[in-house]
């Protein structure tokens, strides 16, 4: 072989750089497996004593009462790890009809991909699973509330000062 190091470096570079480029330009299309580490490039204002966090939360209705209680994702979804909760809840656990996935690439191009269809039987199974979890949490098993919200915390002690609900959906699980 005439240029062994050139060939090896080219192949290795493609293996590393192509997934990195895809992950950077279109994060929702990040391939697996790929040699990448999470970047977490967010910033936060440090001049105020309050910090805002976007979060997805699930609520169950307290059995026999008309109040909602926020459920702990790690306990509610066990054995699903808590870090998988936000994308799961944002898709409403597959209970809502899933539109084709739209990926916007840096630069403006848009890619549409058909998502996996969820069958009626799968929705029934999911509702049954969620109802069992709600029962186990001491909540009314007929409804589940999923919200996208912005929680304002006091920076010095983490006390929750306010919650703004941006998107609120209640699912009938019967």
């Amino acid at each position: 072989m005439k240029y062994p190091n050139l060939l090896y470096t080219t192949v290795l570079s493609a293996f590393l750089l192509v997934p990195f480029a895809i992950g950077y330009l279109a994060p929702t299309l990040e391939p697996y497996p790929a040699v990448l580490l999470p970047s977490g490039p967010g910033r936060i204002k440090t001049t105020e004593d309050q910090i805002d966090f976007n979060r997805t939360a699930i609520y169950g209705r307290v059995a026999g009462r008309d109040t909602w209680t926020r459920l702990s994702p790690s306990r509610f979804l066990n054995p699903v790890p808590p870090e998988f909760f936000p994308p799961l809840a944002q898709r409403y656990f597959g209970l809502s009809p899933i539109e084709p996935i739209t990926h916007t690439i840096k630069g403006g191009a848009v890619i549409r991909i058909d998502a996996h269809k969820v069958s009626e039987e799968e929705i029934r199974n999911a509702k049954q699973w969620l109802r069992a979890r709600l029962n186990g949490s001491g909540c009314d098993d007929s409804v589940l509330r999923i919200t996208q919200e912005v929680a304002t915390l006091r920076r010095s002690d983490g006390a929750e000062i306010a919650v703004r609900y941006q998107n609120d959906k209640v699912f009938d699980l019967r």
């Binding site: 697996y32 580490l37 970047s39 967010g42 936060i44 440090t46 699903v80 799961l88």
Partner: protein, 260 residues
Amino acid sequence: MTKSLTFVERILTICWQRLEETCSNDARSLGLFRIFWGIFVLLFLAPYSAWVGQVPQSFYNPPVLSVAFLFAGFPPYWLLLAGDLVRIWLVVLITIGVKTRVCTIVLCLLTFISANFVYSFGKINHDTLLWAVALCLAFTDWGVTYALVPDRRINPKVAARALATAGVLIAFAMFTAGFDKALHWINFDLSTSGFLSWFYSGYYTLDRKLLLAPFVLKVPPQSIKILDFAAVAFELSPFFFLLAGRAGWRAWILIATCFH
């Protein structure tokens, strides 16, 4: 054209020789590392993906650019459990040094497949580096010493290149972490902090409050701005230390390990 290619080949040869010198290790050291690696994986990263077979199929949302996207849903529980048991057994075999080379390759490939389904909830965890480095080590002599059924010694050039490639993977992975940070964290605006954005998220939403974490709250936020620059510098520097030599690379690895 030929002249250019020959020139590039010569440069790359020098670079790879340097990388191989930096990352070289003898079979004895690799054998010891293999044992520690196996024990660490068994204690802290024991393969377990069978739970995926017990959740509703409506949760299935695989990465588009992955093998799992070709499947209609999560595999059944029994198949994932069988895969877990096989992988645990492979880690045991690697640790005690039985046909390490083959076991390592099979383990890594099975892990990529099962992890693909674990990461089919809409989020990918970034543990590929661990298994990619292990796959590189399969092409070294890490199964030759301190092994019950030792591997045959591999061509020293292949082993040297495999170790250098492992170093490149580690450096590149860290680079990917620092690249986007560099675009957003490097500024002289003392009213914003990238480090604190990462810290508060872990502290208040993931309950990461151990050891020195509470002390960060007592430090004036503007003073922490230096950490934005330090983090970016550290994460973008590994290739420099890889080419600088063994001492520099080992120091960088030590800092990376202690920090994380």
